[in-house]
């Protein structure tokens, strides 16, 4: 009898479905990031500042800027994503809610995925919105800018997903920011190569659907594999 | 092949010999490090055990 009532209790405590739990996580993370705006606006300022350093460091000549723009913007976006990723699990780890997440009866991979989506919505998306301004700074043509936005749209989710694995592996560490960079930056190389190449090729007038397809494929691959890996990593580092 | 030719490596001596030197040097270092480390570990464990033994002995005496 006692056991039966206990079972009942457990059942009641569980929200109706994994899907709803994910939505809850998503909502919660979005709300929290509204409260802690600076955590997410700082990487964006970083992005803008880094990009505006290049004309000062190299040359303000429009030709040069146009040539280096895709690479500069992409490298800056990559670093900004990395910087933001440090916060993906940090506060949840500090206040213990990450452990609650791991202990919850729902598939951790799905919950982690929801967290990454929320994170991308507050970091990747604003980054995308800032990009046209930076593209203008660096004298990119409208057509190149649109391709650049497309590559960022396809590429930054991949970066966030891959980075989540690194963030999960380094979650309890003191100097995690630097370590995260060491672990994850080499893995970002394919995305960087294909994204920058498609923007550059678009500038020359070459068809870039192939590269964009590769970027999409990488994104899908990351979508399939990284939530599970991140969940496994969290289970390891939180024990 | 003359000895002279062997050492000059047909003009490539500047590149070939440092290459081989570096490879052999690094391989030897890699071989030597675990040997040294093993000696160190055994020495350290022996010292620690001797220390623990001494402590146990002292405790026994105190008990008496």
């Amino acid at each position: 009898m006692v056991e039966a009532s206990h079972k009942l209790y457990v059942k009641k405590a569980v929200p109706a479905s994994a899907w709803r739990a994910c939505l809850q996580v998503l909502r919660r993370d979005l709300l929290l990031s509204l409260r802690r705006r600076s955590e997410f606006s700082n990487p964006l300022f970083f992005y803008v500042i880094v990009v505006s350093l290049f004309p000062l460091a190299i040359s303000p000549a429009p030709k040069t800027l146009q040539m280096i723009a895709p690479g500069v913007i992409w490298v800056a976006a990559l670093l900004a994503t990395l910087l933001a990723l440090e916060h993906l699990f940090r506060s949840d780890y500090d206040d213990g809610s990450l452990e609650q997440l791991v202990l919850s009866p729902h598939p951790l991979a799905a919950l982690v995925f929801a967290k990454v989506v929320a994170h991308w919505l507050v970091t990747g998306l604003p980054l995308l919105l800032l990009t046209p301004m930076l593209a203008m700074f660096l004298h990119l043509s409208a057509q190149q800018t649109s391709i650049l936005l497309l590559t960022l749209f396809l590429g930054t989710p991949t970066l966030s997903l891959l980075g989540a694995v690194g963030a999960a592996l380094t979650v309890g560490l003191r100097n995690r920011g630097l370590l995260l960079a060491l672990l994850i930056l080499p893995l970002y190389i394919p995305v960087l190569i294909f994204a920058v190449a498609s923007v550059v090729n678009a500038g020359v007038g070459v068809v870039v659907t192939g590269q964009l397809a590769v970027l999409g494929a990488l994104c899908v691959l990351a979508l399939c594999l990284t939530p599970v890996t991140t969940a496994a990593a969290l289970k390891v580092t939180l024990t | 092949m003359t000895l002279q030719h062997f050492f000059s490596m047909g003009g490539y001596a500047r590149y070939v010999w440092p290459c081989y030197g570096l490879v052999i040097g690094l391989l030897l270092v890699n071989w030597w490090l675990p040997l040294r480390r093993k000696r160190y570990i055994i020495k350290m464990l022996a010292r620690r055990m001797a220390y623990l033994d001494k402590e146990a002995l002292a405790k026994e005496r105190q008990g008496e």
Partner: protein, 245 residues
């Protein structure tokens, strides 16, 4: 057969079996290395195109080959450890990494020393060298994570996951680098661009490959023995071993 496999899981037997193999592997490595040196530096004729500079391949190719194979060994033992929780697999993954990094570094340096007379500069962003450089970064990342986590079990399992993530990414990185390379420059002469290679050139190369592999396994086992001693320092057999030496 099964008892043998079972014994492999026990640190004590691992330690003993490793100690049994090391002298043989060491001998094979030294013999093959000397044959490779003599064959490669003296017996093999100079290349008609690259002169005596081609003799660098006898150390470059084995290093490059091992740099990738060591990562595969690590991926294999990481998989074994994550699935079957065999502690010895963790040890192998951990101790292989510095060796793999060494081979990668050697492949890079020998490659660039070969590049100076052939390409005119020490460094060209050639697809093979670039992939090798990124591989070095992967090794560095692995070792950084492994040493940053203080709890040994957690460090082992977390870095195992990282190795598997890396192994999925290696082909992607490699092909993207190759594609990027063809985009930016035409094919340059590479260290291995010959369709046929004379036997007097080939045999020393094969001997060197064997020597490097035997070297890797010998040193890997030596390092693993040290690691086992440290991990099992509280067990009786280690205490006995320490007392007898």
């Amino acid at each position: 057969m099964w008892t043998f496999i079972h014994k492999l899981g026990s640190p004590k037997h691992c330690y003993r079996i490793a100690g049994y193999f090391i002298p043989y592997l060491g001998t094979i490595s030294i013999v093959c290395f000397i044959y490779g040196l003599v064959g490669g530096l003296i017996l093999a004729p100079a290349d008609y195109q690259q002169g005596d500079g081609f003799r660098i391949i006898y150390v470059h190719v084995p290093s490059a080959f091992l740099s990738l194979s060591v990562y595969m060994v690590m991926a294999l033992s990481a998989t074994v450890s994550l699935i079957w929780r065999i502690k010895m697999a963790d040890v192998i993954t951990k101790v292989s990494a510095p060796l793999g990094a060494t081979f990668t570094f050697l492949a890079l340096v020998t490659g660039s020393l070969w590049g100076k007379p052939m390409w005119g500069t020490y460094w060209v962003w050639d697809a093979r060298l670039t992939s090798e450089l990124i591989l070095l970064f992967l090794y560095v990342g692995y070792m950084a994570l492994e040493s940053a986590l203080e709890d040994r079990h957690m460090a082992a399992r977390a870095s195992n996951i990282l190795v598997l993530v890396g192994v999925v990414n290696i082909p992607i990185i490699h092909y993207s680098v190759v594609w990027w390379n063809t985009l930016h420059q035409g094919a340059s002469i590479s260290l291995l661009n010959k369709p046929t290679i004379a036997p007097s050139m080939l045999y020393p190369l094969l001997a060197m490959l064997v020597a490097f592999m035997a070297f890797f396994f010998a040193v890997m086992l030596m390092r693993a023995r040290c690691e086992i001693l440290l991990r099992e320092q509280k067990s009786n057999w280690v205490k006995e071993l320490v007392q007898t030496t």
